[in-house]
Subunit: 427 residues, 2 copies
């Protein structure tokens, strides 16, 4: 017999405790997934428009087949020779510029960022980190302490300095000089860390600042910021845990739209299509410095079962042309959302690219004041109508539109109809 | 066509870099695993006597079936309701004392220790950590910095203080007063951390100090050490990442042989029988303090696919009586190893319990001087004869005997014959 939500919630509270949270006013009890659909225990189906982990769709048959075959065969650690990790790592590095030639595997985006930061600190000999405001990079101690979404500025260690997210919509700078004005904050952060005696180990940035509110950096910002940091002896970490793997449609990695080659690119969520797989892709010199000074081993990182999932996922993206699909369907959605904005004054902005779109909801277009409460009603109302999304941003007023890469125009139409209907109902 | 080892090693060096290491003078190219056996690319089979991740055997059919069924169904994160995580967490906490009632999942032993340390620091308000010498607890920044196997004492942060491992064989104290003499070091460490203004957040100890050389603490040590730390406001983390899940045969968790209930028990390696699954099991109060002060989410932790593997593994241990098997076959092996010691003067000590046995190899029984070079020859010679093991300990002179829980007397006889033959050949 299917337990009720109340029963499951009581069991969760008892055995998992209060740090575990649930989505939606009335949480979902999910029992099955297939492509862009999730099914609850009552057999009701939901269009998934925002989970960015099942990258080529829930339970994709190729990923299922790869995992099923591999786990039946063997699943050993990386101190034995095994071909899958090599096939995958070579295929992965082929999506990068030649300088980014070395892969360090992990099990989570947090572990990927841990690795990048440890490599950066070891190579530079510096401790200081520059991070954007309202950023989230992970849950381990040394990554949580740079996660400014959750840690107030007053509680940051003195080797962590924030810069404003390069937001040209709500941020302090707009217009033609915004890039240089934001870069000036990087220069100031470098000066602060230098004055405090820490030096600069790294600038770490989500290449689309998701927690920051789907912030798209202005042209030239990453390249100029990286140059400032490198001139001070620091390195540039592009966190693509959320945005990578062709989601934006135009490029495979977001930074590739910004005329810069990072020192580290970190990735996770979509990488194994749901299996715990993550990586830090970097340049050989940093790994060489690190290997001289440290021993490193990660039991479950890069194992056959998860890298088989990663390889299958990459193959599906390439074989099925899903990067082009993200671009085309993303453009289609953006156009339709713009049309919707003519009917709903609460839509203040539509931004992003491919399948990384933020629908910015406001109480007043002139002031762009965030419509936080309405966004929560929209998310819950869409869910009641069978479409799953979520809210993000410092004011939680941005609707996440980040569907699996197999999302079609028909799926988009269904989602757009529900957004229209729900906005009408909750506005 | 099967690539040569040289080709695979060249590919590894190119794409993974120098921080990735391989076991054995001539590394193994593993392509298949079944129960206690691993198979290389040439079809040669090896008896696995030391990999403690495939806990109920490589590719155990029940674990394979559970993973295969679950990945085909759905694999979503923990912000939806799902039964498997609850079934598993309830079954897991049933192996602990009632006070240890709350589970925090992770993807690696490192993440489990990260969580324990973050909870301890948040709850106590202290930063100081007491750790044994030559310990290894993980690879993230804040766990690596307490991993005294790899970080020299001079490079430890001043909020980390070491105590000697409670080794009554080679350590500084033996005999009847050893427990109290070792506890005195805990008292000193508390005093040092207090004097430095850090206070004590936690004492963290591998309940069998594996890296430290399969050190078995003397009776009463953990209980007395925990009492000293708690009196100073700190908490006790029992790291059972290597030793847990009934491996020792006598109890399900090692600390249960020591008349103490820890504040945190961390686990990983064997937990998912090869899938990336780990946890920190703790007491409700610490999680409540943490949840008030922090947001926490871990994308891949506790997901259906890995918890299904964990659940299947637990069921196999219980259904097949594998704890009793570990105890019985472990006693059988210990007896046979003692007989072997009469023929090989290099065997200096045999210690441990169940399937966590260390064979301590010495150049001189009187001085117990470690036979480091011989142990390396033994490990490689056993491998050439079809039996896989490894060396551990500060001097790398201890042969690890930590087979899957399905290891039988027949497997033990095969291993013992090869140890005997190889010791004769390499001594």
């Amino acid at each position: 017999m299917t337990p009720t939500n109340a029963e499951l919630i009581a069991r969760r509270n008892k055995v998992l405790g209060p740090a575990y949270r649930l989505f939606y006013d009335e949480p979902l009890h999910i029992v099955r997934g297939e492509d862009v659909w999730l099914f609850d225990a009552d057999g009701r189906k939901y269009l998934d428009t925002y989970n960015n982990v099942p990258h080529v769709g829930h339970s994709h048959p190729d990923v299922v087949a790869a995992v099923t075959a591999q786990i039946a065969k063997v699943n050993i650690h990386t101190r034995y020779l095994h071909e899958t990790i090599l096939d995958y790592a070579e295929r992965l590095t082929a999506t990068f510029e030649p300088a980014l030639d070395t892969v360090h595997f992990g099990c989570s985006g947090t572990e990927a960022n841990e690795m990048a930061l440890r490599l950066a600190r070891t190579h530079t000999g510096n401790k200081g980190v520059i991070v954007t405001e309202c950023a989230y990079h992970g849950h381990s101690q040394s990554i949580y302490e740079i996660s400014t979404r959750d840690v107030p500025v007053s509680a940051l260690p003195d080797y962590v300095v924030t810069i404003p997210a390069p937001d040209t919509l709500r941020g302090r700078y707009r217009g033609a000089n915004a890039t240089d004005q934001y870069v000036r904050h990087v220069e100031e952060a470098v000066a602060t860390l230098t004055a405090r005696g820490h030096g600069v180990a790294a600038l770490i940035i989500d290449t689309i600042q998701s927690s920051g509110g789907t912030v798209i950096a202005p042209p030239g910002f990453y390249a100029k910021a990286a140059a400032v940091v490198r001139a001070a002896g620091g390195l540039f970490i592009a966190d693509e845990v959320q945005a990578g793997f062709a989601r934006i449609g135009t490029k495979f990695w977001v930074y590739q739209d910004h005329d810069v080659v990072p020192d580290f690119v970190t990735m996770g969520k979509p990488m194994g299509n749901g299996m715990p797989l993550a990586a830090c892709v970097t340049q050989r010199a940093y790994v060489e410095t690190f290997a001289k000074a440290n021993k490193y081993f990660n039991t479950f990182a890069g194992i056959p079962v998860t890298t088989a999932a990663g390889l299958a996922m990459l193959e599906v993206i390439e074989r099925d042309g899903l990067q082009a699909n993200a671009l085309a369907v993303g453009q289609y959605m953006t156009g339709k959302l713009q049309a919707l904005a003519e009917r709903h004054a609460v839509i203040g902005d539509i931004r992003g690219s491919g399948f990384f779109i933020g629908l910015d909801l406001v109480t007043d277009r002139a002031t762009m004041a965030p419509a936080t409460a309405l966004t929560a009603r929209l998310v819950n109302g869409m869910k009641e109508r069978g479409v799953l999304s979520g809210a993000i941003g410092p004011a939680m007023n941005i609707l996440k539109i980040r569907p699996p890469m197999t999302f079609t125009r028909a799926h988009a139409d269904l989602m757009l109809g529900v957004i229209n209907e729900t906005l009408t109902a909750v506005s």
